[in-house]
């Protein structure tokens, strides 16, 4: 029983790391998408040629909006979320859930049925 836990812990940790990595990548990837767009289509950035532009053209610039969305997500949502994810994974509830999830209960349950069949 204990050996099952020991073997499955690194798998759970890898899973957790992957989740944390995915969360921490979402914001920077969005920012990068906005920057790439700005480089590919610089004419959509009116800040580069602001002379004679109206208020809305200066405020609403799609590549910058993507960057702002990415920054908002990374700073306001992802940061506290990563802290919570770490705390949750360290909590006894999550450890119990992991241990429960690692038990080969399904095999035990299915094998007698197969034998009966």
């Amino acid at each position: 029983m204990s050996s099952t836990y020991v073997r499955s812990l690194p798998v759970a940790r890898t899973h957790r790391n992957r989740r944390a990595q995915a969360i921490s990548l979402l914001g920077p990837l969005t920012v990068a998408a906005g920057l790439v767009w700005a480089i590919v289509q610089p004419y959509r950035l009116t800040l580069l040629h602001p002379h004679g532009q109206g208020f809305w053209w200066l405020v609403v610039e799609p590549p910058l909006l993507v960057v702002v969305a990415g920054l908002f997500f990374a700073l306001v949502v992802a940061r506290p979320l990563l802290t919570d994810l770490e705390e949750f994974e360290a909590s006894p509830r999550a450890i119990d859930a992991r241990a429960g999830g690692c038990k080969p209960a399904r095999h035990r349950r299915t094998s007698p049925t197969r034998r009966n069949a």
Binding site: I23, G27, F55, L65, V68, A69, F73, V77, P80, D84
Partner: protein, 194 residues
Amino acid sequence: MQPRAEMVHWMFATGLLVLGLCLLAEAIVGPEVWRARRWRAYLWPGLAFAMGVLMWPVMTFFTNSAIHMYAHGSWAEVLMLAGGAELGLVHGRLKSRWWRLTMPLAFAVTGTAFIVHEQNTWFFQRSAFLHHLLGWTFLIAAVIPLGLVFRPRSAALQASFALVFVVVATMLYCDRDLAPVFGHLSPLAGVPHR
């Protein structure tokens, strides 16, 4: 001092992009972690509701025709309904999972309104193409929130639901008031600006 229609599309695209990122994050970490902080649980339903509210000024100030008014008005209603239902579910005021049916309803109404209120053909110009594409995307993608009503814990459905918003945001960012689409631009559309 009124923004162009394409700018309104871009602003809504930003809202939908943030919504999609939040939903994607929730799908990755799971609802237990996502709802660890109260404000975060309300974030995306609140954003959806706020976008529904903001759709009313769009209906008021961008009424090119009666059909535009009906389309924007119905979006405002269903977005507020879906966002409000999610807010109620998160808060605990609403208990029944059937309230989640408001989201596929919002998708279906949005898709239909997109298709109906675009009166030009697909390749008339870019915005016409995108309105048709967005309409069909919403109509087809309505099966995802419908599936979530019956399988709310499905990570695949949650991720797909989030990605729909990211895809829709991308389409809205591509919108221009007057621009060609794949080299097609009807002479009736007018002269494209930058």
